[in-house]
C-alpha cells in the first residue's frame, strides 16, 4: 500500500513543485486535482487544476507520468469532485463535460481511476435523486468503459451548512444507496472510501468495509472529530452534521485507524492510501499545509506497506 496525498490544497503551486516536496517527504503516490483550468463555481477545497485535462496531448501526458515516476511517485487517480446531478441543467452539462475530459486524461496518463461524486439535488430526498441518477449516469459510465477507466465515487454527503441542506450535494453516502449503485454499475463504478464520513454518520466502519471492501477502488485518509458542544447545541442527529462535523488530519480525529487498516487489508484492498487535507488548523500557507501532511504521514505510515 503506497502512501500519498490529494494535491488539491496546493492550489497555487505547480504540480512538479508539489511532487518534489512529496518525494522528499517520503510520499509515494499522488491523487492529482483536475478541476477546470478556467475555473468556475469554486468552493472551499475545490478548484485546483494541476493538470489541464481539457488540453492534454498524449505526449504531455507521457511527459507528466515520466517526470513523476522519475521522482518515485505514481498517480493513484485523478480527482474532480463536482455535482453531476445539480438542478441547473447548464451547470450540470458543464461539469459532466469536464468530467469526461478527466476520464480521457486518465486514459492518456494510464491512471486506473477517476475520483468524483455522484451528485444530488439538495432539495430532493434520496429516492428522488436516485431516479435522476439513473437518467444521468449510464452515459458517463459507458464513456468511462469506452476509455478503459474506472470511476470511484466518494461517499461524502457534501452537507456542511444550510446552503446544502437537507440532502447535500452527493447522494452516494449510505449502504442502501451503495447497493443500488453497485447493482447497476459494479465493475466500472466503485468507491472512493473515506472513513471520516462514517464518523459523523455514526456508521460502523468494520461492517461497511466488510460489505463494500471489494468495491473500494481508491482510499482517501481523512479524519473527523465531532464537536460535542455544537452537536448538543444543534439538536444532535437531526442537525445533519452542520456545525459539529469537524474535518481533521488523520490522527487528530475519531477514526479508529487500526480498525480501518485491519479491515482494508482483510478485504484485500491493495491500492494507495491518499491523505485528504481539509483541516483548518493547518491551512493558510504551504508551510502549514505541509506540517499537516507530515503529521498525517507519520500517523499512517506504520500501516502502509
Amino acid at each position: 500500500m503506497k502512501l500519498g496525498f490529494l494535491t488539491a490544497p496546493f492550489a497555487d503551486t505547480p504540480l512538479m513543485d508539489v511532487a518534489e516536496w512529496a518525494s522528499s517527504a517520503g510520499f509515494e503516490a499522488l491523487e492529482i486535482a483536475c478541476w477546470p483550468k478556467a475555473g468556475y463555481a469554486a468552493r472551499r477545497y475545490a478548484g485546483t487544476s494541476h493538470i489541464d485535462v481539457a488540453n492534454l496531448s498524449d505526449d504531455k501526458a507521457r511527459e507528466i507520468a515520466d517526470e513523476l515516476a522519475g521522482m518515485g511517485l505514481s498517480i493513484s487517480g485523478l480527482g474532480y469532485y463536482p455535482n453531476p446531478l445539480h438542478p441547473d441543467p447548464e451547470h450540470r452539462e458543464q461539469v459532466i463535460g469536464h468530467l469526461r475530459s478527466v476520464i480521457e486524461a486518465a486514459r492518456k496518463l494510464d491512471v486506473p481511476v477517476v475520483n468524483t461524486f455522484m451528485g444530488a439535488d439538495q432539495t430532493r430526498n434520496p429516492d428522488q435523486n436516485w431516479e435522476e441518477a439513473l437518467k444521468v449516469w449510464p452515459d458517463i459510465v459507458r464513456f468511462a468503459e469506452d476509455n478503459g477507466v474506472r470511476i470511484a465515487l466518494e461517499h461524502c454527503s457534501m452537507l456542511f451548512t444550510y446552503d446544502e441542506w437537507p440532502a447535500g450535494h452527493n447522494l452516494a453516502w449510505s449502504p442502501r444507496q451503495w447497493r443500488r449503485i453497485l447493482e447497476q454499475w459494479a465493475g466500472t463504478v466503485g468507491m472512493n472510501f473515506d472513513p471520516s464520513h462514517l464518523v459523523w454518520q455514526m456508521l460502523d466502519a468494520e461492517r461497511w468495509i466488510g460489505e463494500f471492501g471489494e468495491h473500494i477502488y481508491h482510499f482517501q485518509a481523512q479524519d473527523l472529530h465531532i464537536d460535542r458542544d455544537a452537536f448538543y447545541e444543534a439538536g444532535g442527529a437531526m442537525s445533519n452534521g452542520m456545525g459539529w462535523q469537524v474535518r481533521r488530519l488523520p490522527g487528530l480525529g475519531s477514526v479508529d485507524w487500526g480498525l480501518v487498516f485491519r479491515s482494508l487489508y482483510r478485504a484485500g484492498y491493495d491500492g494507495d492510501c491518499i491523505i485528504e487535507h481539509e483541516d483548518r488548523g493547518f491551512e493558510g500557507s504551504d508551510e502549514l499545509l505541509k506540517r499537516g501532511f507530515t503529521i498525517a504521514r507519520d500517523v499512517l505510515r506504520p500501516y502502509c506497506h
Binding site: N125, D127, S157, L159, Y162, W165, P166, A167, G168, W173, S174, P175, R176, W200, Q201, M202, L203, D204, R207, W208, R228, F231, Y232, E233, A234, G235, G236, A237, M238, S239, N240, G241
Partner: protein, 304 residues
C-alpha cells in the same frame, strides 16, 4: 413523584374505564388525551378524545376530576399534540382553535398544564420556523396566561418518514431553540420532557436535564431503541427514519437511572407519565395494558 400514563392508546375505551384499570394497577395519575371529538387531522397515536373539551362546563370538569380523585388518581395535564405551525392555514387555525379549547378546559378544571407541540413546517429550516413561531405563539401564550394555564412543548422532532422529512413537525427539540423559547416565554412555556428523543438524537441526557431541569413542567416516560441495522443502512443524516424505534420504558436505550438521578437532583417533583407507542404491545387493550405494566415495573423503583 407520581406514576401514571397518557390515555391516548385507549381511543375506544371511555375515560372512567381506563381510570378504573389504572387505579387497579396502582397508577396514581393520568395525562388525559384531548383531541377533538369530531376528529380532524389523524395520525398514529393521535385522535383520542377522553374529554370533550369543546363542550366542557365547569361542573362537568369538576365531576370528572372528583370521579378520578375518588379512584385515587390525579390529572397531570391535558394532552393535545397537533402542528400549530402547519403550512396550510386551515389546518393551522383548526389546530390552534382546538388548542385554545384545551387551554380553557385546563383552566376550568384547575389543572397545571396543557401539553402540546410548538409545531414546524417540515420544508423549512429551524431558523425560518422560529421566525414563524414568533408570529404565531405570542397570542396563544397570552391566551394561556389569561386562563392561568401553563403550556408545555414536548421535545419531539416529529419526524418518522419521508412525510415529515427533512425538518419534522416540531422544532422544539434542540437546546438552542429551547433557549429561545424560554427567553421569549419562559414564565408560561416549559418542557414536557421525554428522554427517548435524546436517545436517537444522541444528545447527552444529563447535560440536557442539568440545563433545562428547572423548566421541566411535565415528564413523559418513553423509551427508544436505535435499530443498528437501520442506522447502518441510512446513516445519521436520515433524521432517524427507519432506525428510531419507540419502545416501552425499559425496553430501549434510555438510561433511566441517570435520568432519574438528574431529575431528582434538579428538583423535579412532578408526574412521571408513561407514553406508550410500542408497536410490539399494540392491537388490543389487553396488549396495551401488558405494555404499561412492563413500563410500570421498570420505572416504579425510581418513583417515590
Amino acid at each position: 413523584m407520581k406514576l401514571g400514563f397518557l390515555t391516548a392508546p385507549f381511543p375506544e375505551t371511555p375515560l372512567m374505564e381506563v381510570a378504573d384499570w389504572a387505579a387497579a394497577a396502582d397508577f396514581e395519575v393520568l395525562e388525559i388525551a384531548c383531541w377533538p371529538v369530531s376528529g380532524g387531522v389523524k395520525r398514529k397515536y393521535a385522535g383520542t378524545a377522553h374529554i370533550d373539551v369543546a363542550n366542557l362546563t365547569e361542573s362537568r370538569g369538576s365531576e370528572i376530576k372528583d370521579q378520578l380523585a375518588h379512584k385515587g388518581l390525579d390529572i397531570s395535564g391535558l394532552g393535545f399534540y397537533p402542528n400549530p405551525l402547519h403550512p396550510d392555514p386551515a389546518v393551522r387555525s383548526a389546530a390552534i382553535d382546538h388548542l385554545k379549547k384545551v387551554i380553557v378546559a385546563t383552566g376550568l378544571m384547575g389543572l397545571p398544564v396543557t401539553n402540546t407541540f410548538c409545531g414546524g413546517d417540515a420544508s423549512k429550516t429551524v431558523d425560518q420556523n422560529w421566525e414563524e413561531a414568533l408570529k404565531v405563539w405570542p397570542e396563544i401564550v397570552r391566551f394561556a396566561q389569561d386562563h392561568g394555564v401553563r403550556l408545555t412543548f414536548e421535545n419531539c422532532p416529529m419526524i418518522f418518514s419521508d412525510d415529515e422529512w427533512p425538518g419534522g413537525h416540531n422544532i422544539a427539540y434542540s437546546p438552542y431553540v429551547w433557549r429561545r423559547i424560554l427567553e421569549e416565554w419562559g414564565d408560561t412555556v416549559g418542557l414536557n420532557f421525554d428522554p427517548s428523543h435524546l436517545v436517537w438524537l444522541m444528545i447527552d441526557q444529563g447535560r440536557f436535564i442539568r440545563e433545562f431541569g428547572e423548566h421541566i413542567l411535565h415528564f413523559q416516560a418513553k423509551d427508544v431503541m436505535i435499530d443498528r441495522d437501520g442506522l447502518y443502512e441510512r446513516g445519521s443524516i436520515s433524521g432517524g427514519i427507519g432506525w428510531q424505534i419507540p419502545r416501552i420504558p425499559g425496553l430501549g436505550h434510555a438510561p433511566w437511572a441517570e435520568i432519574f438521578s438528574e431529575l431528582y437532583r434538579t428538583g423535579y417533583d412532578g408526574p412521571i407519565i408513561i407514553e406508550h407507542e410500542d408497536r410490539i404491545f399494540e392491537g388490543s387493550d389487553e396488549r396495551i395494558k401488558r405494555g404499561f405494566l412492563v413500563a410500570r415495573d421498570q420505572l416504579r423503583p425510581f418513583i417515590r
